[in-house]
């Protein structure tokens, strides 16, 4: 029953229209970002200062770190709703280790190192669990990761008995507060992650396999690509990224509240990915786009706040931008 002829003429028509929308879909985020900067230079006081730059960058960092992992997951045609909860878990675990709640701390440097590695790894393991549900049982990613979206924050709260953990441990907090050469440490981490992911996507077998799995899973399997392993890997990476972002957040705050760390992060990250031009249907990954998408969303919010628009209204504008970006991609896809 394969009588549906390919509408090749329709494709041609799509290609012609694609020029306008294709251009916008490709460079829309950059254009929006430039427009925002120009607008702010003209109307927002004290915009062109290092401080403003740092404020915006530090705020956007955690979103970008999580969104890098999210981009890889979405590129395989999946999605990861659990990232916010995994941030809460790593954010809850790390202070328990370096403050000696779990076992007595001898050397603070060693304790911090163990705390960081262990909490990121634990988040990565939870990510692996997501990947296992998706690849082994073929559960739809949105449902599979909903499990830890719900349970993850609960686990974090149980770990801490729902208590707020506060601390002042500079040996740990450099990750959110240090400024080597005047650049916030987390900005450096973010930049390294973005560069590594962009490189891996274009230059490695792993990156190519991710795009192939998202682009055509059956064809990939028949071409010998280990589809299940790729899926396991991207969800694990997404978990690792979330774990790292959780540490950055608690370092900045000098405290960890399992109720709040990473709250709503999954949606911010997905929004950054979508605005950045990665297709939510998979097969494409724009890591730099994700970075630009996160910056755009952040800058819109900053612009509105700096010009006296209340935060609630800023959220509506943010939603509008996301809707517009996704609509633009739809046009491009015709």
């Amino acid at each position: 029953m394969s009588d549906l002829a390919t509408p090749s003429a329709a494709n041609d028509a799509g290609n012609r229209r694609f020029d306008v929308f294709g251009f916008l879909a490709r460079y829309g985020t950059v254009i929006a970002l430039v427009l925002l900067v120009v607008f702010n230079l003209a109307y927002t006081r004290n915009f062109a200062t290092l401080q403003t730059l740092n404020v915006n960058l530090t705020q956007v960092c955690t979103i970008v770190i999580v969104a890098v992992g999210m981009t890889l997951v979405i590129a395989t045609g999946g999605i990861d709703l659990s990232v916010g909860s995994l941030m809460a878990i790593s954010g809850a675990l790390a202070p328990m280790i370096f403050m000696g709640t779990i076992f007595p701390v001898g050397n603070i440097y060693l304790a911090v190192a163990v705390a960081m590695v262990a909490s990121i790894l634990v988040a990565g393991l939870f990510g692996l669990f997501n990947g296992w549900l998706v690849s082994r049982f073929r559960i739809q990613p949105i449902v599979a990761t909903l499990v830890l979206f719900i349970a993850g924050r609960g686990i974090a709260q149980v770990m801490t008995n729902g208590n707020l953990q506060t601390f002042r441990v500079p040996q740990f907090q450099w990750i959110g507060l240090a400024r080597p050469l005047g650049i916030p440490a987390q900005v450096i981490i973010m930049a390294v992650l973005v560069a590594a992911a962009a490189w891996a996507l274009h230059r490695t077998v792993f990156g190519r396999s991710i795009l192939a799995v998202g682009g055509n899973e059956k064809a990939s399997e028949l071409a010998g690509i280990a589809v299940s392993r790729i899926k396991l890997a991207v969800y694990a990476i997404s978990g690792l990224c979330a774990g790292l972002a959780g540490l950055v957040v608690i370092a900045i705050n000098s405290s960890s509240d399992a109720n709040l760390v990473g709250l709503g992060m999954e949606l911010d990250a997905i929004a950054a990915v979508a605005v950045g031009g990665t297709l939510l249907s998979g097969g494409k990954a724009a890591i730099i786009g994700t970075l630009l998408g996160a910056l755009t969303i952040q800058l819109v919010r900053y612009t509105l706040l700096a010009n006296g628009v209340p935060d609630a209204a800023a959220l509506v504008v943010k939603a509008g931008i996301i809707a517009f970006a996704v609509w633009l991609q739809q046009q491009h896809r015709v």
């Binding site: 003429a9 290609n15 490695t204 190519r208 064809a219 071409a223 097969g283």
Partner: protein, 514 residues
Amino acid sequence: MTAQPDQAALLLDMRDIQKRFAGIPALADASLQVLPGEIHALIGQNGAGKSTLIKVLTGYYRRDAGQVLFERKPFEVGSPHQAQVSGISTIYQEINLVPLRSVTENICLGREKRRRGLLDWSAMHAEAERLLSRFSIGIDVRRPLSDFNTATQQMVAIARAIGFSARLVIMDEPTSSLDEREVSVLFSVIRQLKADGVSVLFVSHKLDELYEVCDRVTIMRDGRTVRSAAMSDIGKLELVAAMLGRDVAAVEGHATAFGERDRSRIGDVLFTAQGLAAGQLVRDVSFDLRRGEIAGFAGLLGAGRTETARLVFGADRRSAGEMTMEGASYHPARAADAIAAGMGFCTEDRKAEGIVPEMTVAENITLALLPKISRNGILNEARQKEIVERFIRELDIKCSGPNQKVRELSGGNQQKVLLARWLAMNPKLLILDEPTRGIDVGAKAEIQRLIRKLADDGLGVLMISSELEEVMEGADRIFVLREGVRVAELEGQAADEEDVLAAMAHGGAAKEAA
């Protein structure tokens, strides 16, 4: 066309139906006449236009030309639902009911009974039971549909059709997911429908079934109705010949670009398969393949050709059978194992299982090659470029460059990209499933010449094709499959076309006793 029934008595009369998609004709000159209270078979190869014709009838597509009379009145409907209300119900291969709702809800969906504005459940349950009892089916109509097996669900779909007082029920491959016992129940239901004066349009690829249950048959090919006859007037061989377009006398000369074969180039045994089986579709297939040989799989749709190829390639799990590759026993658990053993597989469905449309020509060509053009997981761009450019040149792939998206290429060039993907692996055995389907004549000849050249260079080729001349002229040996069983092995080129047709139709190589 033969045996025109009396026009006044027709239940359905479709004439000169034309339908084009984006300029490409899917139906060129199709007609279909169904009598009241008859079981009418509609058959043809994939792409012959059966589905399109049905979809035109049920209002899913709008026809470009032609007329449709139903009960002697012009029949114009805009949707399958309207068609159903007007007396034509369709039961699809995949039952499109609502699995989690009750049997009653499924039967009464769209024509619920009401009393004082509320749903009258007891009346609806009674109605559902009444309809099902006509087929001697007594089930709890309050239970969700998904509680029942496929056959019962199909009965529910039929009962639903009857509930709409259908005068014509279209069944699109209704037996494909049923076992033998279920099929016989379905047939008794169909006969019951016939006795009640309801006509059935029966689409199936299983010839034996057609002879068992159908009164008349309409055969389609390339969007045209090529023949319609009483089942009793047409032999199986004739039927297959008409489907494949072989009703002309013997073919003169060569219809393909394969040309003469130098058989001295065929080497020692490369691959053997003994008693392969998996599920209902592959039941007992044995064959072997030599280096430099082209083996052809012939058979009708549903004969198990593609399914056998998937077993060989490890894409599906086999339930029985032994295989060897280069003398060593070979047990592929997944495609990667087959690739490691030196096999490649160009699938029948280029779009769904072959190309990665959003990727470039270069990325598609190197998809199976990634481990070989990388070190420590890092791609060697220069090596990729070299390989890709070589294959674009050698196979003459028409593209703007290695970085063009593969979805923008024509079907023939996409096929060449897939061939390049496997040839780049330097395989020993290449499985080609319908290698020239849906591509233009020029590209087709090019690909056929290429296949022959590859075999001359020592590649073992397993070729599946629904085009008889491709198998007849291309293959050195022909294995005929019928309903999952390898029924004949014939010498290629020297084989008698009628022998191949006979084996496809009823399993024996012997000539049909007319």
